[in-house]
Amino acid sequence: MSKAPTAIDPELFPGSFLRLLSIVPAAVRRLHAGVADGRRAVRGEGGRFYFRGHREYRPGDDLRRVDWNVEARLGRLQVRQFDAQKDLLTEVWVDGSASMGPCGGRAASARAAALCCATGLGVGGRVRMGLLREGRATTLFEGSEPGHMRAALEALSREHPEGLTDLAEALPRLRTQLPRGARFLLLSDCLSRADPGVLHAFAGRGLRGALLHLRVPEIHAPSPGRTIVARDAESAAQRTVMLDARAAARIAARAKAHADLWAHHARQVGLLYLPFAPSLSPERLLRRLVLEVA
């Protein structure tokens, strides 16, 4: 991991993007207006699902919370108490391997991670952002206020893609760190030999969220052209390929099959599958995050 002076990289986060971040909280609130309870963070007691216990009825209590079974059995008015239902934590985990760097991948993933954080903070919860690299999960940032976004951006500016991810080892480790019911946003290019079934490690944890799949056109939809010498960003291996139309079509088909597999397993564990390209505008990505994830 390379450290750099605390600053926001203007190449990763240009002024237009920062202006977009500044309006994320308001945009989230506006989009969530009228949404059913439980889909957004609230403060204090309430809710309907997280049962905490009973207490004596007091005037003014909502009659709908009286436990009539207890009254019939014990002859006392008892009301049910629940924990407040909040989106308390948004977990944003970013693939930090070298494969996220080329073809504009670093900037795209950094901006996507920032949008995820801003969305999590915008709904009033806490956000934790971490990095998956070499089989480990490292926390980069934690915040609970929209004003903490600067720290998130600085943390993202410091990081440069390097090394391997080893999702097969990193995801099971990450499972132990994720609290139940957290919003889980995994941001990766999924360019790993790991079995996509590793996502099933998150099953039963009450997680909801999305798999943000970074798909660069250079390998997912390559343009046919002349012969190229391709170099792997992680291993530095080279391969000379005559990239004609047929070869480009075959490569695209393999990439699509690979993405389909990851998408299938993500949906099985309750995660949305959100593919995005480096050229996708942050506004569109934000809209999808707010509408479909937050």
Partner: protein, 517 residues
């Protein structure tokens, strides 16, 4: 094509250097990809297609280098030729049936000309169809103006063909003519002897009957060998006022005008039109009177001459417009010059322009004038003064070719000019015993064309255009094309980058529209 700065062609050495650099440095681009996962199943290309790859950038770069190097060398190509100007003088002559031969010669000339060449045909008209232009006049007409080549179409070849004018002879080899070429009258005691010289211009022996109406009609039969002359002697009355001499040939006679001569004692009126404005007519009259009256100048029968100044613009009639002046002053010394063969006691009459090297104006071809014919000078054009006689004969006055202008009216040489004219008119006209001859043509007019030399296209090959073709420079178009190639070289990567960006955008849009989303 030539180069103004051929050293700039050294720039062409950059072409092989560019090619070598392209071969050496141009490799398949190394592109860093996130992963080779999806490429591993593709066959790896071993041999890189280097030699036969079509590279637009290389072609444009080579073109720019070549164009700029050539443009720096400033190549010049020859411009369009201005074309040659060929001046042809067609001599008139007594043979009126030669128009077809003239036309054929002109067609040969036209066929040898290029599309930009210009053919100028000058017809030398003859006032009298029985006379023919003189060589000097033809030369003068052919040498007039600017031309790349000069030709004369005539019946005969000149005696000394000049180097700058080519002669095309179209003479009719089968033509025949018999005529009187000389007449003289010599007093012998109580009577006079008439000598008549008859020419047989034919390729066969001809029999000619010669008649003379003097002391009764006489006739003599003479046989003349081919292309030769025979004199005929006949008796005559020295007191007669008029003697007619004529002949009757047995064979073909192409020119009948030379068959009759009249000997007469009538004076010779001479009318001179210096083609001047009316306001200088008086000065001209004075000059002419002074010329005629000048002491020490001997005139041919000057006492009988009449000089007249015809105002400018006169075109034919003389009776109403001519201003007669008495040219024979009282007491002027008049000396008969004797017979036609006598030499004039003064300087020779200049007859050939080739010998005229001064700034004077000479009568050219001051040939045989009839003793009683009017001599009229009418200006035609800027440089020629034809002298037309009433009977159609003519004498041409041409200015000095070195000056190209006629003599001024108050020129001190006017006396010499008039003297030459009169001397030329009278030298061959006086036939002796106070007679002068009318209707006597010169020998050349009686001699028909006998030469035939067709047009030789080789004589026209060496003719150069008057205006040399100006070379055209190709620097500007070459440099413009080179700069355009450089701009294209600069724009190609930009265009490719934009196209690639557009392709990525489309690909991203395709990804976003996948069903997984």
């Amino acid at each position: 094509m030539s180069f103004v700065s051929p050293w700039a062609l050294i720039g062409l050495l950059a072409v092989p250097v560019l090619w070598w650099l392209h071969r050496r440095l141009r490799r398949p681009p190394v592109r860093e990809l996130p992963s080779l996962m999806f490429l591993l199943d593709e066959d790896e290309t071993k041999a890189l297609p280097r030699g036969r790859r079509f590279d637009v950038e290389l072609v444009v770069a080579l073109a720019a280098t070549i164009l700029l190097a050539l443009g720096a060398a400033n190549p010049q190509i020859e411009g369009d030729d201005a074309g040659r100007v060929v001046r042809v003088v067609v001599a008139g002559g007594p043979d009126r049936q030669r128009a077809f031969r003239v036309q054929r010669a002109l067609e040969g000339l036209r066929a040898a000309l290029g599309p930009r060449d210009e053919l100028i045909v000058v017809n030398e008209p003859v006032g009298d169809p029985d006379t023919r232009p003189q060589e000097a006049g033809l030369l003068s007409a052919a040498r007039a103006g600017s031309a790349s080549a000069r030709f004369v179409i005539d019946d005969r070849l000149p005696r000394d063909e000049p180097p700058d004018v080519r002669w095309i002879a179209i003479g009719d080899l089968s033509a025949r003519n018999q005529g009187i070429v000389a007449v003289s009258l010599r007093p012998v005691e109580q009577h006079a002897e008439l000598f008549v010289n008859v020419l047989n211009d034919s390729d066969r022996k001809e029999t000619v009957y010669v008649f003379a109406d003097a002391r009764g009609e006489q006739d003599v039969v003479v046989e003349i060998p081919p292309f030769s002359m025979r004199p005929v002697r006949m008796g005559s009355d020295p007191e007669a006022e008029r003697i007619d001499v004529w002949l009757s040939p047995e064979g073909k006679d192409r020119v009948p005008s030379d068959d009759r001569v009249v000997l007469t004692r009538a004076p010779v009126p001479v009318y001179v039109d210096p083609a001047l404005h009316a306001r200088v007519v008086e000065r001209t009259q004075a000059a002419l009177v002074a010329a005629v009256s000048a002491a020490g100048v001997r005139y041919v029968r000057a006492a009988d001459a009449k000089l007249a100044v015809v105002p400018r613009g006169w075109r034919g009639r003389t009776d109403a417009t001519r201003l007669e002046i008495e040219a024979a002053p009282e007491g002027a010394a008049v000396e008969p010059i004797g017979t036609g063969t006598d030499e004039i006691g003064r300087g020779p009459v200049v007859r050939d322009l080739a010998t005229a090297g001064t700034g004077w104006v000479y009568p050219v071809g001051a040939r045989v004038l009839q003793p009683d014919e009017d001599v009229l000078l009418a200006r035609r054009g800027a440089t020629t003064w034809p002298v037309v006689t009433r009977t159609g004969s003519r004498v041409r006055l041409v200015p000095d070719p070195l000056r190209g202008e006629p003599a001024p009216v108050d020129s001190p040489f006017w006396p010499l000019l008039i003297d030459n004219l009169l001397a030329g008119a009278g030298a061959q006209r006086v036939v002796g015993a106070g007679f002068r001859a009318e209707g006597l043509l010169d020998v050349e007019s009686s001699r028909l064309g006998r030469d035939a030399r067709p047009f030789d296209p080789a004589t026209l090959a060496a003719a150069e255009p008057l205006d040399a073709a100006s070379p055209r420079s190709l620097r500007t178009p070459l440099v413009c094309l080179g700069v355009a190639c450089l701009l294209l070289l600069w724009a190609l990567p930009q265009l490719r980058r934009r196209l690639a960006r557009s392709a990525k955008t489309h690909a991203a849009a395709g990804l976003a529209a996948t069903p997984h989303a």
